[in-house]
Amino acid sequence: MTPLYMAFLGGGLLCLIGQLIMDLTKANITPGHILVGYISIGAVLSGLGLYQPLVDAVGAGATIPLSGFGHLLVQGTLKAVESKGLLGAFSGGVEAAAAGITCAIVFGYVAAVLFNPRD
């Protein structure tokens, strides 16, 4: 089991990097850009085999940031390619991330319907 302080440190550092990207670059970086950037970079690092060591070290500190979601997609894809070949390249990612994606859509929809934005 990953100790708590490692998850805290890992997650904190990944968020700190995002904050520095937003504050130190001149371009207007929106939260959307951060999300897209993190999932893409996480997926690429995972494909290169560089993200798993981070997950081993800081646990939820690396899986909860959105880069961990990219890692999940890629690892699911790679596992499915081993067992199913070419079909796995297209099915494995969503299979691994199914619960998260479904929860995000269903809980997101319900919350958006039930609550109203405050002005």
Partner: protein
């Protein structure tokens, strides 16, 4: 427009941009960084508590990870709904954007704004205004990595 006028316009725009950069408040980098680190760390630390609890119940690592993602997404959707998450986001910045809770927040916040356009093509469509691009790039990289593996192992 002749070349001179174009040149003038370009210089004017450059001057305007410089002026904007001067007046725009500089972000307090140290304060923002501390906030992002603390809030992001606390969110991930809380998730780790949940993961460790589920593992102690005998759940597999994969299932525990999925379940905790679902719990975090549920909580973020709820706290976005009651308006708390966005208040936190004003201070925490990337600390509340980078974790998966920020993904759920982006979904609910953008969907909620478009309720007046209806529940199907308002809320239903706007759910994906931020989640869509995120998933597109996530899937695209995953498929490319998968195809490279297929290619290398054949």
């Amino acid at each position: 427009m002749n070349v001179d006028a174009k040149q003038m316009k370009k210089i004017e725009m450059q001057e305007y941009q410089n002026l904007v950069d001067q007046i725009k408040p500089k972000p307090d980098i140290l304060k923002n960084s501390v906030w992002a680190f603390m809030v992001g760390g606390l969110i991930c630390g809380f998730a780790q508590v949940l993961v460790n609890y589920l593992l102690s119940l005998g759940m597999s690592r994969t299932d525990a990870g999925s379940a905790v993602s679902c719990i975090m997404i549920f909580l973020a959707a709820f706290f976005t709904g009651i308006g708390v998450y966005d208040e936190l986001g004003k201070r925490a910045g990337a600390g509340s954007i980078v974790p998966i809770t920020g993904f759920a927040n982006a979904i609910v916040a953008s969907a909620m704004e478009f309720k007046r356009e209806g529940y199907i093509f308002g809320v239903g469509a706007r759910i994906f205004s931020v989640a869509g691009p995120t998933l597109v790039f996530g899937f695209a990289v995953a498929v490319v990595v998968g195809l490279i593996k297929v290619f290398l192992s054949s």
